[in-house]
């Protein structure tokens, strides 16, 4: 493995919750590191969705970043105080 030199720690928000990541990481990788794999609910089927293609083709990992919708979290690096919002909050998953 080629290990990255330890990068600067960055704080950003995911659905209102503060999360730590490292400079140069795309949003999706930082979320993975924090144990978050589910990024949004599908607006048609209502199912949870996460990373699928990982390189920007499928748009499954999209979220609203600093107010701009449709941002692919797999392609976009995190920035200090960045606001990442998916439609994950507000929709209740049916806990049986």
């Amino acid at each position: 493995m080629v290990k990255n030199v330890k990068q600067k720690e960055i704080r950003f928000n995911f659905n209102g919750k503060e999360i730590k990541g490292h400079e140069g990481q795309p949003i999706a990788a930082a979320l993975f590191d924090n144990g978050i794999r589910a990024i949004r609910y599908c607006d048609v089927t209502g199912e949870l969705r996460g990373i699928y293609c990982g390189i920007g083709h499928c748009f499954e990992c999209r979220a609203t970043v600093n107010g701009i919708s449709g941002i692919r979290t797999c392609l976009t690096p995190i920035e200090e105080n960045m606001n990442v919002a998916s439609n994950l909050t507000g929709v209740q998953y049916d806990e049986e």
Binding site: M1, N4, I39, L48, Y52, G54, G56
Partner: protein, 416 residues
């Protein structure tokens, strides 16, 4: 500044726009810039390298590690030192005549003399019941997150789809400390062509003319004489293991289960002819990596009105192009996986060829130089440590024939 940025209409000018900062695009940018052309490279990602970034393996023939990330960095540094301008996090959304329209904070369009499309490939989907669940990713995503981002994408992982890419990624993930439970075939259906154990083994064998990693050593054995006996043995006993990772050539995943995230998969045995047998078992996993193969990403070439041809030997639909990588649209060139699915080394050689082909238009290189660049591509192909498509040589031949036909129908006036 080499480029003139007109702030008023957010427009930029250049000699060449390269779409895609992968191996083909980077090499091309260096060749073009070193001969004094103004080059702009556009990429959606926030750093350059494309699929090189995720590649990490030992090239046994050259007795060295192929670390794509380092190679990419070296290429970028060189390109930047030559004045190549990079626009990252920028998507091309339209090409119209000689104008490239981009999604960029500052610049909306680039007026250029030539365009090189080096957009690479996209992974082919492998739909299985439940493949939309969180925790199902493509093999390419798994590779990128493991090798580039150093992220463990799961604890207990399986792969569906057995091919050179999935085997390589599985090995890389195991090295990264992930528990890889094995590689399986997808359940046979009209949705995939990757469920026949015999055909899958044969295609791995034919894709492995080299010995970069254990699968190719294994494949090499199949190629060199022991073929029938070994093949039958593997097919019969389902005993294949590579670097400790079981390759279940006779087991298929029929369904991915879990309420929202992946919790388990259903696995059934499969006959030599690709029929499901028996009741099957449930296997607890949290992550499934799907490997459906690669397809050239051609949408920009379609939009630019390039003639598209269907050549399965190259991976499917590709823009019709000359041996010099010119498309049917004047001023538009192609290099890398958009021309057919091959490894990074071939893409790099193609990047050089496309660049020289462009340089010839600018009268900066000779015909002889161009012929050498063609030879270099062929050499890279024959030395390539990885072959994705077994009949790639035939595919290239077909392309050349189709190009010749096209030239004949268009007439002598067309300079190919």
């Amino acid at each position: 500044m080499l480029q003139v940025i007109l702030q008023v209409c957010s427009m930029m000018k250049s000699d060449v726009v390269i779409v895609g900062a992968g191996p083909a695009g980077l090499v091309a940018s260096i060749e073009l810039a070193s001969k004094g052309l103004q080059v702009v490279v556009v990429d959606e990602y926030y750093r350059s390298g494309g699929r090189l970034l995720g590649q990490l393996y030992k090239d046994r023939r050259k007795k060295q590690v192929w670390a794509g990330k380092i190679i990419a960095n070296d290429l970028v540094e060189k390109a930047k030192s030559l004045g190549v301008k990079f626009l990252f996090e920028t998507a091309v959304w339209k090409i119209e005549n000689k104008t490239v329209f981009i999604s960029n904070e500052k610049i909306k369009q680039i007026h250029t003399k030539t365009i090189l499309l080096a957009t690479g490939a996209i992974e082919k989907a492998l739909p299985l019941p439940g493949w939309q669940k969180v925790g199902v990713v493509t093999a390419g995503a798994a590779q990128t997150f493991t090798n580039l981002h150093n992220v463990k994408i799961g604890k207990n992982v399986i792969f569906v789809g057995i091919d050179p890419l999935s085997i390589s990624v599985a090995i890389e993930m195991k090295h990264a400390g992930v528990n890889v439970l094995g590689l399986f075939l997808p359940a046979p259906s009209m949705l995939n062509q990757k469920s026949n154990p015999k055909e899958v083994l044969e295609s791995i064998a034919s894709a492995s003319g080299m010995a970069t990693n254990p699968i190719y050593r294994f494949g090499g054995k199949l190629v060199h004489g022991l073929y029938t006996k070994l093949l039958l043995k593997f097919l019969k006993f389902n005993l294949l293991k590579i670097n400790g990772i079981p390759i279940y050539i006779r087991k298929a995943v029929t369904e991915i289960n879990g309420r929202a995230e992946v919790e388990s998969v259903n696995v059934k045995n499969i006959s030599i002819d690709g029929e499901l047998i028996g009741d099957g078992k449930n296997l607890l996993v949290d992550t499934v990596c799907l490997s459906g193969g690669l397809l050239p990403l051609i949408d920009l070439s379609q939009l630019a009105s390039c003639v598209i041809v269907d050549i399965p030997e190259l991976g499917g639909f590709v823009p019709l192009h000359s041996p010099y990588l010119k498309t049917t649209v004047e001023g538009i060139y192609v290099a890398g996986n958009i021309t057919g699915i091959e490894g990074a080394q071939v893409s790099m050689a193609q990047g050089k060829l496309a660049a020289w082909s462009i340089l010839k238009e600018f009268k900066l290189v000779s015909e002889k130089d161009l012929l050498q660049a063609i030879k270099d591509v062929e050499q890279a192909r024959s030395l390539s440590p990885i072959t994705f498509l077994p009949n790639i040589h035939r595919g290239r031949q077909i392309m050349n024939e189709k190009w010749a036909d096209y030239k004949n129908t268009i007439g002598e006036s067309f300079d190919g």
